[in-house]
């Protein structure tokens, strides 16, 4: 066990964990931020997607040593006070989620896409979003929500 400091949603947190600890479980169990989800632990489903210095990354395989000095953004950190992020607003307007479990990862991937490409084409949406699995099958709603958010 060793003390490590990480920066999440603009705030620094010091945690005392071993070498095997991953960002996902530090977020969930040490910082009690449960919005980031465990799906596979193998970076294959996208449920745990967070932003690492603005780029989508898989918290489930990210050791704390890999994020020293970097800014982590989670689903809890993208709204501006009570005002939800435009992507979240679009998600709600399109009634995108079913079970909702994959949606934190979907939303953060979409946020990163729109930061990079404010008006993505269908192909660009396919390219950016096709590493996030939704078993409920909400892809058409996710696509519509991304296009709607792009207009906000």
């Amino acid at each position: 066990m060793a003390e490590t400091t990480i920066k999440v949603n603009g705030q620094e947190h010091t945690v005392d964990v071993g070498d095997d600890a991953t960002l996902l479980w530090v977020l969930r169990d040490d910082l009690k931020m449960k919005g980031t989800k465990f799906g596979c632990g193998m970076a294959e489903c996208g449920a745990c997607t967070v932003l690492i210095d603005g780029e989508p990354g898989r918290a489930c395989i990210t050791p704390l040593s890999a994020i020293a000095g970097k800014d982590i953004t989670t689903i809890e950190g993208i709204s501006d006070g009570d005002t939800l992020h435009p992507v979240q607003q679009a998600w709600i307007e399109q009634q995108t989620p079913q079970c909702g479990y994959c949606q934190s990862g979907q939303i953060l991937t979409a946020v990163a896409l729109l930061n990079e490409t404010p008006n993505p084409t269908d192909d660009e949406i396919d390219e950016a979003m096709s590493n996030n699995i939704c078993r409920c099958g909400t892809y058409t709603r996710i696509r519509a929500a991304i296009k709607s958010a792009a207009q906000k």
């Binding site: 071993g18 479980w25 169990d29 919005g35 632990g41 989620p97 909702g100």
Partner: protein, 739 residues
């Protein structure tokens, strides 16, 4: 009809406690017994758990369905309404739907209704959430209970105001009469009264509905877009540790020996348990138990199953006699004799593989086993089966066990079967402290359940008028036989097998379903057999339509003279799709398939593009129409159908569990490769509503037709008939070679 029910005094005490200490009015009611009987197969079997390594002997019977009046609706003293139900929300929209039903009947604002779900110390032992039954089976009972409550409130208001009930009106929970007004809060305040559901209570006339039938946004959209929705995997309790099970190398392996010495010396590890085939460790942190489980030395004897995903179809047929033909056997006329006299009659054979449910939230649970009681927190579709099995496993009375059912992060049938909570309970009992257990993805694939592989053989031929002269349907399904049992655990392989369920007029037909021995435990995967059977049936109908020289829609029309709702549904989908089959040369094609499930009628048109050189298949669009009778919330129904289509497309073009030696060979997301954004087509859904009809189910009907519609569209595009799912490029090329 709901039987008039007498609440026992014990139920009353329990109820008044469950309904809360606060004042209010309570209407109690039973959940109809036939609701459970409608799906006897839904009862999880402990045999399934046996195969997973829990050392537990003996059979278990799920609790008989409640015939006691112990479900309730309550008007709280602040005028809000509480409905307690054993059902659970997991994205299908039933919380919103129940709120609409109750608000409508009680004339309160939609957001004044709260729904308590799947808490076994609060709700009646209601059937779980599966089979598209929540709204259509429980909904009408809730409406009647709410109508009872409304009549009671009017009685009280009439008394308080000195007016006649006939002169009262209600809006937003305020009763108005000639002499003044009374709010529900005023009427319920200071009361602690209970009444039973009245058979005389009359729910509203559907023509007066103002909330039912409206597309009210589902109430959990904000929580699910902000990371605030709580799932079973998010639960923590004071003092808990993480458990981790020592898994066998293959299914049905037996544990010879286990040595925890090294693991127990590792950081954070607090204990271990060995009980027969079940072995597990526990530790302070998740990463610690994951590191330590690798240090556990276990030796197993494997069963050495020779069955593989390649030979499973032959194996099912060979072993079908080990069981009995499913009692689903339907015969009309003498199709054997008729078909023997038809030269063009032929047999068409279809195959579908095992599928994994693979919800993104894996199985997980928190168990706290104490002397004074047991608490379980788990994402479950069936909290009361979970309670029954935990109680049985621990040798406790069911009333000592409270299951706090949590919102599952995807389920699709897999979270009907109690597993993680049994394992967590075993460890918690051993250690005397709360234990949280989360399956990893490999466990979720390997040790869960599977949609059964099936082979369907249809023998059919046309008469001189080009109509179906005879139809023989033999289905062979993988089934799981618990040790020593001659009766397979149910897997609903027979759903939609009987052509008469869809096309009532086929005069000469015979349907038999055989169940063969499976190395993998089959279980409900959405509509299960209905997907397979609809694929086989609808493909064969297109083959016969071509033989008859008519287009697929006209051929079906001729079979639907006595199924006008399905015919109308078909035409709605056809119209929405721009139906233009026979383009052929462009590699684009249209295909149609129909279904009927859960009291709803469904039709889908798929438009696909096939590259004849590579066999590559692209799904361009799916246009669906559904007639659910009364459409409670059209937008929510649309969403359900969209999701069902996407998941079933994944089964159509991608998903196939492969295995050998009792081990999956593609048990990860990257290997199993469910469809993702780039595979998802444009989808349109037309919802036909008739408020005068009962509500049909809407969760599952969208699943069944997809494979048939896509297979028929592939044929229309390139003239190649695919008989085996998934429709990979390799199989399409093979079919092109045979074309």
């Amino acid at each position: 009809m709901i039987d008039q029910i007498t609440a026992s005094s014990m139920s009353r005490r329990r109820l008044l406690k469950a309904a809360g200490a606060g004042a209010g009015l309570v209407v109690v009611f039973g959940v109809p017994v036939q609701a459970r009987q409608a799906t006897p197969e839904a009862t999880p079997d402990i045999g399934v758990v046996n195969a997973r390594g829990i050392n537990y002997n003996g059979s278990i019977v799920a609790p008989p369905f409640s015939s006691e009046a112990d479900a309730f609706i309550k008007i709280n003293e602040d005028g809000t309404v509480t409905l307690a139900t054993g059902k659970i929300e997991f994205g299908q929209g039933i919380r919103t739907g129940f709120m609409q039903l109750i608000a409508e009947e009680l004339d309160v604002d939609f957001d004044q209704v709260e729904v308590s779900m799947a808490q076994t110390d609060v709700a009646a032992p209601e059937m779980g959430s599966f089979g598209s039954m929540s709204t259509r089976v429980s909904g009408p009972v809730f409406q009647k209970a709410a109508a009872t409550m409304r009549a009671w409130l009017l009685e009280l208001a009439a008394e308080a105001l000195g007016d006649d009930v006939a002169d009262l009106t209600v809006a937003s929970g305020i009763v108005t009469g000639p002499s003044g007004t009374k709010t529900y809060a005023e009427l319920a305040g200071g009361q602690q009264s209970m009444r039973e559901i009245s058979e005389d209570a009359t729910p509203k006339n559907p023509s007066t509905y103002t909330i039912i039938g409206k597309s009210i946004p589902r109430v959990d959209m904000t929580a699910k877009s902000t990371g605030q929705q709580v799932y079973g995997i998010d639960i923590e309790v004071e003092g808990m540790v993480y458990g981790k099970v020592v898994r066998p190398p293959s299914l049905d392996a037996t544990l010879d020996d286990v040595d925890f010495t090294e693991a127990l010396a590792m950081p954070g590890i607090v204990g271990s348990i060995r009980d027969g085939n079940f072995a597990a460790i526990a530790g302070e942190r998740k990463d610690q138990v994951e590191a330590a489980i690798k240090a556990v030395k276990a030796s197993w004897t494997e069963s050495g199953s020779a069955i593989t995903s390649e030979n499973i179809y032959d194996r099912i047929k060979e072993t079908a006699d080990a069981g009995k033909p499913l009692d689903q056997e339907d015969t009309a006329g003498d199709p054997d004799t008729v078909l023997a006299g038809i030269e063009s009659a032929a047999t068409y054979t279809y195959r579908v593989p095992f599928l994994s449910h693979s919800p993104i939230e894996p199985k997980s649970a928190v168990a706290d086993v104490r002397e004074d009681g047991v608490d379980i927190w788990v994402s479950t579709q069936d909290a009361f089966s979970s309670r029954a099995m935990v109680a049985k496993l621990l040798g406790r009375d069911e009333n000592e066990v409270i299951v706090h059912g949590q919102h599952p992060g995807g389920a699709f049938g897999s979270k009907i079967v109690p597993q993680a909570e049994l394992e967590a309970a075993m460890i918690s009992q051993e250690l005397g402290r709360p234990v949280k257990l989360i399956w990893d993805r490999i466990e979720e694939f390997q040790f869960g359940q599977f949609r059964p592989a099936m082979q369907v053989e249809i023998t059919a031929g046309l008469d001189e008028e080009g109509a179906i002269a005879g139809w023989k349907y033999d289905a062979y399904a993988a089934a799981y036989y618990p040790e020593g049992s001659k009766v397979p655990t149910g897997s609903a392989s027979d759903w939609s097998a009987n052509i008469h369920e869809i096309y009532p007029d086929v005069a000469e037909s015979k349907t038999i379903l055989y169940q063969g021995v499976s190395p993998l435990p089959p279980y409900f995967w959405r509509v299960n057999g209905a997907t397979t059977n609809t694929f086989a049936r609808e493909s064969t109908l297109d083959i016969l339509a071509e033989q008859a020289g008519v287009d697929p829609v006209s051929f079906r029309d001729a079979m639907l003279a006595n199924a006008p709702r399905l015919a109308a549904t078909m035409h709605a989908a056809v119209d929405a799709s721009g139906w233009k089959p026979g383009v052929g040369s462009t590699g684009e094609g249209y295909g149609i398939a129909l279904g009927s499930d859960a009291g709803s009628f469904i039709a889908q048109v798929a438009r696909v593009q096939v590259d004849p050189d590579s066999g590559e298949l692209k799904i361009l669009s799916v246009d669906a129409a559904i007639d659910p009778g009364l459409a409670l919330n059209p937008e929510a129904i649309t969403h359900q159908i969209e999701g069902a289509i996407v998941q079933s497309l994944s089964a159509a073009i991608r998903e196939e569990i492969t295995f050998e030696n009792g081990k999956l060979t593609n048990g990860t997301f990257s290997q199993y490769a469910p469809i993702v954004m780039r595979d998802a087509p444009a989808i349109s859904v037309t919802v036909l509503s008739d408020p005068s009809l009962p509500m049909g189910g809407v969760g599952e009907p969208g699943v069944a037709p997809v494979l048939g519609a896509v297979a028929n569209a592939i044929y229309d595009a390139v003239g190649a008939r695919v008989f085996q799912a998934p429709f990979t490029a390799e199989r399409i090329l093979e079919a092109l070679g045979n074309a």
